[in-house]
């Protein structure tokens, strides 16, 4: 054959083909490897080892535990003995076993025959029915067939029953033979139950514990391509249909694959395991099925943020908590930010932000300390005065009313205060507007110095009149101090002249509710203080300060005491003179915003100094947004000046202006910077005087900043369909809000939190009545405002409503005074509903407790209360207790209108359960055993004896008796008269021994 012509050299092409094919093959293998080597598989392998190790450890532990058990040894011996005795009966056992086998065969055979016969019967029935009903076919013939099979079925059924009976008989015989052995096995099984679980688990995970076949299967199931069937290493995911991700044009269910790597998250035994296998730190609240947030319903990213569909460290959008961690991650995981993912995981310190996605309607979220602190700080600092935040819509302004300011403070004081509030009161909430980094240059200082003049001019010119009543008598400052310390003022106010170190918490904020009462003599007049104390709402209609119903004398005393504190240094601060030139410039800057240069000049020329100050003052108040916190005449309907923060946590980072600062490009970094240095984004920027950033400096501490950032991060767009019960109930929400806003927890403990006043009670007892520290500690609870735990269960709503509207004396020897709040009926209803909600109560109206005064139960109650000498401490209407005031307790005649009977029974059972530290002892109620002793029996009356030791009935009896005690329910006046006459000297500590009676 002739050599064919070729354009190319075929040998060369062959080589090229071979090489490129080998390269391609290599690349294919590489592709598979690249595709199959996933980070999460590594973690799963690692976890498998860890799990194996842990399980075999547990197995060993369990083994050694039970082998040490005596009962286990006995069971084993029993087993050995039983097997031995069975061995002897082996021959006897063979007969029934053989019989059983043949019977089983027989049973199977007949069962089959029956099944066939039944099928034939059904078919015959059909044919017969057809023949009769539709005239298809021969009626007689089909009838015959039907009968035939009918008989057959019956026959087989009978035979089968016979065989079954015999079969059971044989089974029983065999069982009897084996009885001993099975019994021993069962006993051993009780001990080895856990061991079996562990070993079974081990055979699944530990190749060392597997059979050869299983080992092979274990290898094959994870091979490429074959692993579509049932691989060991696979992605685990939770799909949440109710919690969706917003993709702007559509929503998709959340899919969380976190558990693919976080394999020990739900298992408590991995507490000390390394990440990512570590157990969740709070399994009681999250993850587990019995918690409020089971993993199956909430997943992970719904709280933590991040990208649930991701399966490696980076694509899941983990966020480092600090720069150090970032560096560590970069080195360890080549970590970088996940681009294009708007909701990266919250850094660890802000993880509570996630609670807001569902709990956004709540004022207090239990277990979210940082978040609560954050929202509380936002409320205290009044952020919503300048920034609209939906959840704080229409809330009262946080600062004092400035409508009647001329009658309260002097212009000079106001000037110094606006310039630097903290120089007067070191812990004031009023932030600093001037002398900050973008207005501290000499030029700005001159300008802002005059701006304050203009603002003050406006405030005083537009201030309204406030008639001050004269102080009727001279106050006694010592008595005043005692009143301040004892009446409850310190639940909301501090009196701390010098700055002090303190970590902010909800509790410290409660005592920071009202201003720190220092330097008042340098601030206002005694007349004003007197008038304020008498009726705060007269000066400031929406004040949070309640009315303490002070007498003229008390008010005068307190005024004298408050006027003893002054601040000379503050008064010495110099104030620049009014400079018309500078004012002109300020006015012109504002004029130029609306008018042309020419018009501005003309307008300025036509203005007198007074007009200029008017004009500039109004513009400046509007510029700085003073009306965001204070009521100022003329600014009643002004819009807030700041950015809306309702969804600030969802704001894309690109929309935040970082200015020229070189800080991390993240929301949390921006928020932190803004809160710490509110004007720093102006650094190095060229801006006009009135284009600069205006947010004032609150001088937040690091703890506070972190808490506020946590809350801000939580203000997000995403709100899931799921709403916690409390968030659904608007009334409860309102009640909770009022409790927070009016600082009820400054005095009371509600939801196991609050009672900030308590330490001051101790101080008061020590200072005023010479208690030793430990004695005073013991007296804190009886002399503090009551713990409102179980309040919803405790009191009748009607009574509570009346009480709150018009407080009366309940604990007669209590010095602390429940103030009168300027609330509407609906406000009080919200609060009562909130209390009812806390205890799971719904009824607002309840029928009266009816008592059968002829019953033994009632009689027993009466007898017991006499035995227990309730009247030693308790008032019975206007009948005073037998003992001295230090042990006085509430008026029992009030019980029928005040308390709920169910609660009284609970209370009598064990008062300490409900109110820890109460002086109320549980009444003695005899038991059946007690009554069996004749000597004891003698001491009881008919009522008790008839109940035959039924303690519950006896407690019901006491309760019944209490509801029949006659007398005045409100004895406030009697008590007041008593103390007015005798004073509180009963508390005076002179002899230690006197208190011995208490125990």
């Amino acid at each position: 054959m002739a050599k064919q012509e070729r354009y190319y050299n075929i040998l060369k092409l062959n080589k090229l083909f071979a090489i490129s094919s080998i390269v391609f093959l290599f690349l294919l293998i590489w592709m598979f490897k690249d595709d199959y080597s996933r980070d999460w598989k590594g973690y799963q392998r690692e976890f498998r080892l860890l799990e194996g190790e842990l399980t075999s450890n547990f197995l060993e532990l369990e083994k050694s535990r039970i082998t040490a058990l005596n009962d286990y040894k006995v069971a084993q011996q029993e087993m050995a003995a039983a097997e031995k005795s069975l061995e002897n009966k082996r021959v006897d056992l063979q007969v029934p076993q053989k019989l059983l086998k043949s019977l089983k065969n027989e049973h199977y055979k007949i069962e089959q025959q029956l099944a066939f016969a039944k099928a034939e019967y059904d078919a015959a029935k059909y044919e017969y029915e057809e023949a009769v009903g539709k005239k298809h076919g021969d009626v007689i013939k089909t009838k015959k067939r039907l009968d035939h099979f009918n008989i057959e079925v019956k026959q087989f059924t009978l035979t089968l029953e016979d065989v079954e009976r015999e079969l059971n008989q044989q089974k029983k015989t065999i069982q009897d033979f084996l009885q001993e052995v099975t019994g021993a096995e069962k006993r051993i099984g009780e001990f080895t139950r856990k061991i079996n679980i562990y070993s079974r688990r081990l055979t699944n995970i530990d190749p060392g514990s597997m059979t050869v076949g299983n080992k092979m299967a274990d290898f094959i199931r994870d091979l490429p391509v074959l692993d579509f069937l049932n691989p060991y290493y696979k992605i685990d995911q939770i799909i949440l249909k109710d919690i969706t991700e917003d993709l702007n044009f559509t929503t998709v269910p959340t899919v969380d694959r976190c558990i693919t790597c976080h394999l020990g998250i739900a298992k408590p035994e991995y507490e000390d395991a390394p990440q990512p296998f570590k157990t969740h730190p709070n399994l009681d609240l999250y993850i587990t099925n019995k918690s409020h947030h089971p993993m199956e319903s909430f997943g992970c990213t719904s709280c933590h943020g991040g990208r649930g569909r991701g399966t490696n460290f980076i694509t899941t959008a983990h966020t480092p908590k600090s720069e150090e961690q970032e560096l560590e991650w970069v080195e360890k995981y080549q970590w970088h930010e996940m681009h294009h993912w708007e909701t990266p995981m919250f850094p660890k310190q802000y993880s509570e932000s996630g609670c807001f996605k569902c709990h956004s309607e709540e004022i207090f979220i239990s277990h979210a300390e940082k978040l609560n602190l954050g929202t509380n700080l936002i409320e205290k600092a009044g952020c919503f005065g300048c920034h609209i935040i939906e959840r704080y819509k229409d809330k009262r302004l946080v600062g004092p009313d400035l409508n009647k300011i001329p009658k309260k403070i002097s212009r000079d004081w106001t000037y110094r205060w606006i310039r630097d509030p903290k120089s007067f009161r070191h812990n004031t909430w009023m932030p600093k507007f001037f002398g900050l980094e973008n207005n501290s240059d000499p030029e700005s200082q001159v300008r802002t110095g005059q701006e304050i003049h203009a603002i003050i001019h406006y405030l005083y010119k537009n201030g309204k009149d406030f008639p001050l009543y004269p102080i009727p008598r001279l106050g006694n400052q010592e008595r005043g101090e005692e009143l301040v310390n004892s009446l409850g003022c310190l639940g909301c106010h501090l009196i701390e002249p010098e700055p002090f170190e303190e970590t902010t918490s909800l509790q410290t904020l409660r005592r920071d509710h009202g201003p720190n009462l220092i330097g008042l003599a340098s601030k206002t007049t005694s007349q004003w203080i007197y008038n304020w104390l008498k009726q705060p709402s007269r000066y400031f209609p929406r004040t949070k300060m309640p009315n303490l119903r002070l007498t003229d004398e008390e008010a005068a005393d307190i005024t004298s005491y408050l006027m003893t504190m002054s601040n000379g240094e503050f008064l010495e601060q110099s104030i620049p003179k009014l400079d018309e030139m500078v004012i002109d410039n300020i006015v012109k800057s504002f004029l130029l915003m609306m008018f042309s240069d020419f018009d501005s000049r003309e307008k300025l020329k036509s203005m007198k100094l007074e007009d200029k100050l008017d004009y500039a003052g109004e513009k400046l108040i509007r510029l700085y947004g003073c009306f965001g916190c204070h009521n100022i005449p003329g600014f009643e309907d002004e819009k807030p000046i700041g950015t809306e923060l309702t969804e600030e946590g969802s704001k894309p980072v690109e929309k935040l202006d970082f200015g020229l600062l070189d800080i991390k490009r993240s929301r949390e970094a921006w928020f932190t910077q803004k809160l710490k240095h509110p004007r720093s984004f102006d650094r190095d920027k060229v801006k006009g005087d009135y284009e600069k950033l205006r947010m004032p400096d609150f001088e937040f501490s690091d703890v506070e900043v972190e808490a506020i950032v946590t809350a801000l991060q939580g203000f997000v767009k995403t709100s899931y369909g799921i709403k916690p019960v409390r968030s659904q109930n608007r009334d409860v929400h309102m009640g909770q809000w009022l409790v927070r806003e009016y600082n009820c927890q400054g005095c009371h403990i509600i939801e196991n939190d609050g009672g900030a006043i308590r330490p001051t009670i101790q101080d008061w007892l020590i200072d005023q009545y010479a208690f030793t520290e430990s004695d005073a500690e013991g007296m804190i609870i009886p002399f503090s405002p009551p713990d409102l735990n179980t309040q919803g269960d405790r009191t009748q709503p009607n009574w509570l409503f009346d009480f709150l509207k018009n407080p009366t004396s309940i604990r007669p020897n209590l010095r602390v005074r429940m103030p009168t709040f300027n609330f509407t009926d609906s406000d009080w209803s919200y609060i009562i509903k909130y209390f009812l909600f806390l205890d799971g109560e719904v009824a607002t109206y309840e029928s009266k407790h009816s008592v059968d005064m002829k019953s033994f139960q009632y009689l027993a109650g009466k007898e017991l209360s006499e035995l227990g000498a309730c009247d030693n401490c308790h008032f019975y209407g206007t009948t005073f207790p037998k003992q001295t005031p230090d042990t006085w307790a509430p008026n029992l005649a009030m019980t029928k209108v005040r308390l709920k009977p169910e609660w009284v029974i609970q209370w009598l059972k064990n008062p300490q359960d409900i109110m820890k530290g109460t002086k109320m002892p549980a009444p003695y109620v005899p038991t059946k055993e007690d009554l069996a002793v004749p000597e004891i029996r003698e001491s009881f009356g008919q009522g008790i004896l008839n109940l035959e030791g039924d303690q519950d009935a006896m407690l019901r009896g006491i309760t019944d008796f209490m509801y029949t005690i006659p007398g005045k329910t409100d004895i406030s006046k009697e008590i007041k008269d008593y103390f007015d006459k005798n004073g509180y000297d009963f508390l005076q500590q002179e002899e230690e021994a006197e208190w011995g009676e208490w125990e």
Partner: protein, 372 residues
Amino acid sequence: MMEGFKLLVNTLAHPTIMLTAGMLVFLFFFPPNDWFEKWNRRLHLNFLWTKKGFYFVIILMVVFFLIGLTDPNFSLIIKKPDNVPIIGLIFFVFIFLWISMSQALKNDKLIDAGEKPEEYNDPEDKVLVWPDLVYIEFIALILCMSLLLIWSIGLDAPLEGPANPADSPNPSKAPWYFLGLQEMLVYFDPWLAGVVFPSLILFGLMSIPFLDTNPKGGGYYSYKQRRLAIPIFLFGWMILWVALIVIGTFLRGPNWNFFGPFEFWDLHKLVPLTNINLSEIIYIKWFSVGLPENILVREIFGFLIVFGYFLLLPPLLAKTAFKKLHQNLGNFKFGLFIFLLLFMLSLPIKMYLRWLFNLKYLIAIPEFFFNI
């Protein structure tokens, strides 16, 4: 030193400089007439189409990108998986251009010497489909697959976040093959840049076989024999398409601002952009009278210029520069040709008007959404 180099590159990369230089240099590299060819020869510009020239340019480009990798800003751009094809495009455009030009020059020499071009084949000569053609195709297929595998293993797909109407990406870039169009949008009204120009590009490409009646240069590479066709095509392709894609990819940053390759893409960078219309220049700047009420009167100068450009220039050119071509093609074909050419040239013209006079539109009738 390095900083100086980067500053120089950043400066040169500015489109005014880069495009101007590019257009000037272009004519010398691809001379359309004798005068340019004279300079081409004198400057030995054909060195580029020799093997040495090839290595020279390739090494230059590789070195440039290697230096670019050391720069944090530029490396961000070139490492972006989206932009990998553009870097490939830069290399491949040059490689294919080099192949055709070096071949063309070789053939020109052969033809000058009275020989046949290299591609000329004896009708007796033949190549078999199997194995010659199929075999090399198969090998090429395997190699292409290999390349794709390496690419897909090495770089993940450049996915972006879910589309969000409240947060559009900045810069918002078209796919790479449309970046030329997007660049045109800077200078023209959308109906021109988005509708008329793309249609005319397609129309123009379709009409090439109809307009190009030159019988020479069929089946083989030659520059001399197609001294008009090649420069015109390459001008439209290299300068007005490829260069615009490169600019759009590497040099357009946030807010569609210009950034040198080594410049940080600052979101807040501001450049003055105050452009005015021709009518405003004439009536307000020059005559210092207000704009006339009547739209036609107001825009009359724009209309004159546009009509003059499309109606007066063709006959003028037919009499002067393209006299021979006019005779060859006849009125209709010449008219079509010159219309397409003028349209093509209107793009750089408009760019220059913008850069030099801040001219927004020649004709601006926002009342009817008609702007040129």
